[in-house]
Assembly symmetry: C2
Homo-oligomer: 139 residues x 2
DNA sequence: TATGCAGCTGCAATCTCTTGCATCTATAAT
DNA sequence: ATTATAGATGCAAGAGATTGCAGCTGCATA
């Protein structure tokens, strides 16, 4: 809430408009305790302004993603979740047996990014990745 | 075609049934020149047997995926594609600017897998991953 | 060869997400 | 304050994928 002004400034600076819908959607992502789905955002925004359309939510999230203000992560449960970039970059290890999610440091990917850059000249854009497998307990 | 017998044997061994639909779906994946989508498989199978249902295609692919006979890759174009595991494990670098796809060796992921195992005790199941970013030409 | 049934299929409904289009509006220029 | 317009929204249709359920069938057994 307090800081969403900064982000709104970024939108304006890049020629995008500040609309009430965007403010409410952004607030919902910023104030979420965890990774939040489009449907959850939609429900929250509807409490304030019942006329919002779910497609506006998706389009706004797409925009925020392009501007690198939020990240999108697919935890493999059929719906993608969003997270404010202000709360830090991190990745997830998703156990396919117990469903548990382990958060991991972004730095684990540094060697991979470097070798992709060296071997393939490819600048990998790995922001918020979920990797599937089997956790310690379930092995 | 020639080798799908082996796979059918694996199905039987694990208590799954061999049905005409499964044979046709499996053949479609095995004979595909490239990564093939569910819709494409469906179209191919329909030529032989117009009564197949798309949900059978999805369910069969899900089964083959669980049995590690095919891999699923999301190239980010709105539909997931499948690939026979017999044609080898590999990963893809997808350029978000030009849309180009670079294939890469599985071995690039070995150090990452090892550090996940060491640091988190997590056995990562990275079969066929698409990583997004910017390729050499577009940087 | 006939039978029983777990497992598979087809169908239809549903879910998540995207897209085209007409209308509306935030914003910059007047 | 008014106006023009590029950009945003709402609506509805649609695409890809999943799911519940009734009925069908591969295949193990007798």
């Amino acid at each position: 809430m307090a800081k969403s002004g900064e982000i709104l400034g970024k939108l304006t600076a890049q020629g995008y408009r500040i609309t009430p819908q965007r403010i409410m959607i952004l607030d919902a992502v910023e104030n979420a305790d965890d990774h939040i789905s489009a449907e959850e955002i939609f429900t929250l925004v509807c409490l304030q302004y019942p006329n919002v359309n779910i497609s506006t939510v998706y389009r706004t999230l797409e925009l925020l993603k392009q501007l690198e203000l939020v990240t999108e992560t697919d935890f493999g449960d059929g719906r993608v979740r969003y997270h404010s970039i202000k709360k830090g970059h991190h990745h997830h290890l998703v156990c396919q047996k117990c469903g548990g999610i382990i958060d991991m440091e972004e730095s684990v990917f540094t060697p991979l990014r470097e070798s992709l850059l060296k071997q393939y000249g490819f600048d990998a854009d790995i922001h918020h990745l979920a990797i599937f497998g089997t956790c310690k307990k379930c092995r």
